[in-house]
């Protein structure tokens, strides 16, 4: 049995240690926010936080998450309040098909946790997730907007 904490809840799962975290989340724990896009850590649709760090869960064996904290898009909202990044995504009408957006949002949240005022270059370096609908311009705008919100709430 492998124990891990997902969005604040403890789970014990009886799976192979090499099973990727993504598939444990999706098929064993029914956490469907992280998406399968490529399986080789290229596209980032499966991005979740492992102890606060963004990881591509399709390429992280669940054993590496044993006794660790996993945060997915489902756990971002606090007491029913959306995270400022999610709010910015709504304000700027970012998603189109929406499939990659869980991963995009988790990558953006991780970026802003480390860098409260990212430049365009910082965004280019941190946001390597693929969006086939081409929502990139709005993702950039929304990250800058969320950075402003976070600054004003923490100041």
């Amino acid at each position: 049995m492998i124990e891990l904490t997902v969005n604040g809840r403890k789970h014990s799962v009886d799976v192979e240690p090499e099973m990727p975290l993504l598939w444990v989340l999706r098929d064993v724990l029914d956490v469907k926010g992280p998406k399968f896009g490529c399986g080789i850590a290229q596209c980032g649709a499966c991005t979740v936080h492992l102890n606060g760090e963004p990881v591509r869960s399709c390429s992280v064996p669940v054993s590496a998450a044993a006794d660790q904290k996993v945060l997915t898009i489902e756990g971002l909202a606090q007491r029913g309040q959306l995270h400022p990044v999610q709010k910015a995504w709504i304000d700027h009408e970012v998603p189109q098909c929406g499939y990659c957006q869980s991963g995009q949002i988790m990558a953006a949240v991780a970026l802003l946790a480390k860098n409260r005022d990212p430049s365009d270059k910082d965004i280019d370096a941190a946001m390597t997730n693929i969006c086939r609908c081409g929502t990139y311009a709005r993702i950039r705008t929304a990250i800058h907007a969320a950075a402003k919100t976070l600054k004003s709430t923490k100041a």
Binding site: E16, K32, F36, G39, I40, Q42, I73, Q86, C100, D124
Partner: protein, 718 residues
């Protein structure tokens, strides 16, 4: 937010009676928003449900694959219904209901940028009819004349007395009235919703990571399937050796299909891992030796063939060539492309006796329904398809190969729902690819630099040959000649020849379809002509578009906004192109610089679009951005190659997709809706991008790009 259609209790009883009762189909439907809000109200036309709490449920028959059309379609209904837009929700139409009600919701096909333009009239009429029923019901209750009443924002008002009734209060009475046959639609000047930016109804759920997509379907007792298809198209399965997988954890079954093997297990990772351990023997058939080079040579023969069908022959091309002051001649090439939607192909199916239930991200739920019925060998009435959101479609999801596979696998584990999911590798290597196309042009210019004759020879795969062969007339596939046979330019002598060259590679509709490669060729060649004539490429086009105000309109708009002809910083150059498609008109101007080492800097992209009417300007702008990302990905890197009959690319590491750092920073969407018609918005903006970019590269370097992608032409992004 579209959720699967929920039958009203009355309807449910009808179905149960009709089909002998005890239908598992309806019982497993998830609770809808309407029910959650209390007892659902009555239907007013097939499209609209008005609930006692005044909330309005609008049914959507077309798939939502990212363009926001489900919101746009609801806006069309709501515009005429005069309901409170803030209380509108949507749900997808049930295909079983569609069958039972004799296709009450019309076409469910989603492609060709047709969702809005093909259904706008009957949707507005449905909204208007329902409004009339509500107003009539209120007038009857007040015992006043209908003419004294008006509806606005979900409320009917008796104008002389000021009495008011909410829609929810009169919906039951209204539902007992006959829908009026003839309704008058609003003049566009009276529109309150259409043409104003509206928030998309699906976005709040999408930023919460809700399980909206086909891949997210979760059912009690569900099994999972992974699949390996014959790597050579049209090949067959010979044998599977499964000694190595005996006793593997979670394994449920190995299912053999004619050209594929599926492994069913208790989760997808185990299914896929097990699949990789199988020793599979394939029969490649006659195409096991095919390569990109051999296919290109095969298609290119169409350029040399002495006898091919003629699609158009205006004037006398040969005579014009013999008196030409100058002749320009060129050959162009566009490779196969993969759609690469972010959500790999998938489909969930449950076969129970003679009943089939399917959950699918499909671009045509009716096609999915028909494919499921045919595969299972059951009547249409015994099938239900639950349409989910699509993690991108781009034309790929109109084909039903994944549906047939899922139903076949579900038959093998009857009584148990099974979710078939393709790996990215399967998705990359089993697409219906954008067709490889070659074109040769020859043009004659007179001493004044005017185009007098143009000969086109198009050698291409045909999509129609596979899907609607009856549309190919005397060897000419006009669909494959999109943007060529119907070009807007006035050319006194024009001859267009078509050589259909179908290799073993399956081809299909990919965003903007033939208007993604044909305009690259046509508009690049127009640039070549302008250059040979010593004329400005914008003015050269203008002169040939004098009878075409819509094409001219977008061309002028793109030129005006980009400041065509105005000075640019040293080393920066512009390119321009125009192309109508999918009922709309678009023109683009690129500003680029190219270093001596071939580093391409795309500094500015201006795209002007005239779709007639714009329903949601915010979504329209998003579609311009979307087309830039999708179109430039293809132009810069897009190429599917073959070796030994099979596709060489397998995943995003060797089929590169644009990322945020590579997206041009300055994209200007110039919407110039001229009114009077309804055009598409999801594809047209892509059409002029490749030639405008390549023409800018020519202006910057003197190098004419006649073959894509740019990575093979010594160019890369700066």
């Amino acid at each position: 937010m579209p959720t699967p259609l929920r039958l009203s209790r009355r309807d449910f009883l009808k179905v149960s009676t009709a089909l002998g009762g005890g239908l598992a189909l309806e019982l497993t439907l998830p609770p809808s928003a309407a029910l959650a809000a209390g007892t659902p109200g009555p239907e007013l036309t097939a499209w609209i449900v008005i609930n006692p709490d005044n909330s309005v449920l609008i049914r959507v028959a077309r798939s939502e694959m990212g363009q926001g059309s489900s919101t746009g379609l609801a806006m069309l209904v709501a515009e005429e219904l005069e309901c409170d837009w803030k209380k509108v929700r949507t749900e997808f139409v049930s295909t079983n209901e569609q069958v039972r009600r004799n296709r009450a919701w019309g076409s469910m096909a989603t492609g060709g940028s047709r969702s809005i333009r093909d259904s706008q009239e009957y949707l507005r009429q449905a909204g208007a009819a329902a409004r009339e029923m509500l107003v009539a019901a209120a007038a009857q209750r007040w015992k006043v004349s209908r003419e004294e009443c008006d509806a606005e924002n979900g409320v009917v008002t008796h104008l002389p007395s000021g009495r008011k009734l909410r829609f929810g209060q009169v919906a039951q009475a209204a539902s007992r009235l006959e829908p009026p046959k003839d309704v008058k639609l609003k003049d566009p000047k009276e529109w309150n919703l259409i043409g104003r930016p509206a928030r998309r109804l699906d976005i709040p759920d999408k930023v919460r990571g809700k399980p909206l997509f086909g891949i997210d379907v979760q059912l009690p007792g569900m099994a999972y399937a992974a699949i390996a298809q014959c790597p050579v198209f049209r090949g067959k399965l010979v044998t599977v050796a499964d000694e190595r997988i005996k006793g593997l954890r979670g394994l449920i079954k190995v299912v053999k299909l004619e050209d594929a093997v599926a492994v069913v297990a208790d989760n997808w990772w185990r299914a896929n891992r097990t699949l990789k351990l199988l020793a599979i023997e394939w029969d490649a058939g006659p195409n096991g030796g095919a390569s990109t080079e051999s296919i290109r040579e095969f298609v290119r023969f169409g350029l040399e063939d002495s006898s091919v069908p003629v699609a158009r022959n205006d004037g006398d091309v040969e005579a014009a060539f013999s008196s030409a002051a100058k002749v320009v001649e060129s050959e162009y090439y566009a490779p196969f492309l993969n759609h690469a939607p972010m959500e790999p192909m998938n489909c969930t199916a449950l076969v129970n006796g003679d009943r089939v239930e399917v959950w699918a991200p499909t671009q045509n739920a009716e096609s999915t329904h028909a494919a499921a019925a045919a595969t299972a060998g059951v009547p249409l009435e015994n099938v239900e398809v639950h349409l989910t959101h699509l993690g991108g479609g781009f034309g790929r999801r109109g084909f039903q190969d994944y549906t047939r596979q899922a139903v076949s696998i579900a038959k093998a584990v009857e009584g148990r729902p099974v979710k078939l999911l393709w790996s990215r590798e399967e998705d990359m290597q089993h697409d219906y690819y954008r067709p490889m196309t070659l074109m040769r042009f020859k043009a004659a210019l007179d001493s004044g630099g005017r185009l007098t004759a143009w000969r086109v020879r198009d050698a291409s795969h045909s999509i129609m040959a596979g899907v609607r062969p009856q549309e190919i007339k005397e060897g000419v596939d006009r669909h494959a000649l999109g943007g060529i046979v119907d070009m807007p330019y006035e050319v006194p002598n024009l001859r267009i020849e078509f050589a259909m060259r179908n290799s073993h590679v399956p081809v299909g509709f990919m965003r903007t379809v033939f208007h993604s490669q044909n305009p690259f060729m046509r508009e690049s060649f127009v640039d070549e002509m302008a250059h040979a004539a010593g004329k400005d490429p914008y003015e050269f086009r203008r002169a040939m578009l004098q009878g075409k105000p819509k094409d001219l309109g977008v061309l002028d708009a793109a030129a005006r906004v980009s400041g065509w002809g105005s000075p640019l910083p040293a080393g920066v150059h512009r390119g321009i192109a125009v192309q109508d498609s999918h009922g709309s008109y678009a023109a683009a101007v690129f500003e680029v610089s190219v270093s001596g080492a071939g580093e391409l800097d795309i500094r500015r992209v201006v795209v002007a679009v005239d779709p007639g009417y714009v329903v949601n300007p915010d979504s329209a702008e998003a579609q311009v951005q979307s087309c830039v990302a999708y179109g430039l990905t293809s132009v810069l890197w897009g190429e599917i190659t073959l070796k030994e009959g099979r596709v060489e690319q397998s995943n995003f590491h060797d089929y590169r997709i644009m990322r945020i750092a590579e997206m041009p920073k300055r994209i200007e969407a110039v919407l110039v809706p001229s009114g009077g018609f309804w055009g598409g918005m999801g594809e047209t903006p892509l059409a002029p991008l490749a030639p405008a970019l390549c023409n800018a590269i020519f202006a910057a370097t003197g190098k004419r790009i006649r073959s894509l992608p740019l990575k093979n032409q010594g160019l890369r992004l700066a």
